[in-house]
Symmetry: D2
């Protein structure tokens, strides 16, 4: 049986960008993965908000790992494409990307994800993604 | 008259993420901006390729700054949304994002961008973006 | 006070394409609009499934009218862009597009919609859309 | 050897929606397909412009058939997803969708297409699409 906790954690640890952005895995469940990231000057755009590229990085990894939890044994995943809408300026104390599988297929899995910004007691959706993830046979 | 070289360079220098990813401005022309980035372990995904989030960061900034070169005087730009297709594994000696304005509007500007991977004498398109950029009145 | 039932119904009746595709308004609530369509050879692709263009037509109208229910008084809406994922072959007895507002803004409203295929007692999601709708001042 | 003229023409003729919208195949070349459509009240939205759903139908078919011209022998194509930006009100004497293959793959082909509106001597880009097309083994 596949140990999705180990499979996802190991892959996440191998993503240099996640560490470089200060992102961390929050939870791994079948079909749903959460990744958190704190704001910092290193991930900002020109107004001091978090850059869309950094938000996309955690949106994409959350989608990819959600897909990986439901992929056939021994397969790896690769993002084919995604689309992101930015709903509000990315200002918050913490950003949590929640990736969910909408439809798991043999070769393609469709996912959505959103970034929630948490500030004080409030949560707001900052960005949403709709993504297509390809399943690849793994030589491992 | 607007000095687009200065406007774009100053804004780029204020994007913490661009420096953090090792990205640099290559050229600024009316309606077209180029940004380059070298591969490194800090911007990789689990297979050692450059992460889609890092590619998206330079695709998005290239689109946003291409739009800014054609925006009304004194206005700033903010990305409303984008879509990215990843065409090949992001393996190259250097990545160059080329952002171009397709249609400049009063409130919305539509841009496309692509990331070219350069390796040896060869150039290949790694990823393509289609984006919508909003013009904002600037208080400055 | 705006009569969203009348505003949306009148606009829908003026959309020649909706009639031409056999689509009909099912419900109009603040922030959510539903449009139904039955399969027919006139809206098919080469395998006899409903064509993505016909699905997109009701996905887009459902998003646009959901946005219109929350738009400022006297304004009209125009789709700026959308992205559609097709999850399954479009085979069903009836297709219902459900459009919902995710974030209503002054100039841009972000919506999602899905097409549900109903067959026998079963419902399946056939396609999903993520869209950006522009609010336009109306001369009316 | 594959006869792409016949393969595409036969498939197009089987798409009920193309006939229903008054669309016609203009040209078929390896990696590029053109489809034209005239405006009419049957394909309009509420302001009398051509509906985004009708534009999407020819954008999508142009992408799909461009992909089909480069697909492996005996395979069929199915659209996985697309994104459309609407650049201008769809007002013209004729609309021509031009679909082009950006990257042909074994299982996925990425295409772009645009709708050109022709009026008087002038041509304007009305809408652009970025799409992912899946290759399917054909039982035929």
């Amino acid at each position: 049986m596949r140990d999705i906790q180990k499979i996802v954690s190991d892959s996440f640890a191998a993503q240099g960008l996640m560490q470089h952005l200060g992102a961390r895995l929050v939870s791994i469940e079948p079909g749903e993965v959460r990744i958190a990231m704190a704001p910092s000057p290193e991930i900002s755009q020109q107004n001091g908000f978090v850059h869309a590229g950094a938000l996309t990085a955690i949106l994409d990894s959350a989608c990819g790992y959600a897909a990986l939890t439901m992929a056939p044994d021994g397969s790896d995943v690769l993002t084919a494409e995604f689309k992101v809408n930015l709903l509000r300026p990315a200002v918050a104390d913490e950003f949590v990307a929640i990736g969910k599988v909408v439809k798991a297929g043999r070769t393609l899995t469709v996912c959505t994800s959103e970034v929630i910004g948490v500030r004080g007691g409030e949560s707001k959706t900052i960005a949403i993604m709709q993504a297509t993830i390809a399943n690849l046979a793994n030589s491992g």
